[in-house]
Amino acid sequence: MCLFAFFVSLVFAVLLRDDPREQLRTGGLMFGGLVCAALLLGWLAYPLPL
């Protein structure tokens, strides 16, 4: 999941921003957002019977 989030945030950050510092910031935010959202959704789905 972290590897997937890394690749996706890397490509999107480089696509969306031109300045390397902004790319790093956007990529970091996106990576953190993806990982945190996945963990949060995982915890929310925990009580659901599957």
Binding site: L3, F4, F7, V8, L10, V11, V14, L15, D18, P20
Partner: protein, 136 residues
């Protein structure tokens, strides 16, 4: 180092229909080639390394290269998305990689990597097209 103005001049020069088609085909076949062509070296190198690495990770995780089976629309869509990777996808199909192993616990993860990698390359091709048209 290439400046933005130099890149813009080069972009205007490539805004001819024939060159644009060639640029898009190159950008599809080799991820990042379109950006390298247009002088966006940093972006091109990142795409050149990251996208094939993502695709290879998917294959390594027992991902499956879907066939173009129109009777099963979701499988056909997955195949279309994976084909977005270009030459790495073609090579993988030619050498018989990506047979996939449904029983593997990482099968779905592998599919996810190969599908999203292909879709991201489509976005990269569109970005190269926009740059060549002088929109960025």
């Amino acid at each position: 180092m290439t400046t933005k103005s130099t890149a813009a001049v080069r972009a205007r020069a490539t805004a001819e229909p024939g060159t644009l088609v060639l640029l898009c085909v190159a950008a599809w076949a080799i991820p990042g080639a379109g950006h390298l062509w247009l002088g966006r070296r940093q972006k091109g190198l990142v795409f050149l390394l990251a996208l094939p690495a993502m695709f290879l990770t998917g294959l390594f995780l027992n991902g499956q290269l879907s066939p173009f089976e129109l009777s099963d629309p979701l499988v056909a869509l997955a195949a279309f998305a994976q084909a977005g990777m270009g030459l790495p996808w073609l090579l993988a199909r030619m050498v018989g990689a990506g047979a996939g192993m449904v029983t593997s616990v990482t099968w779905e993860y592998g599919n996810c990597f190969t599908i999203v990698g292909g879709l991201l390359n489509f976005l990269v091709v569109l970005d190269a097209f926009d740059i060549a048209m002088g929109r960025k």
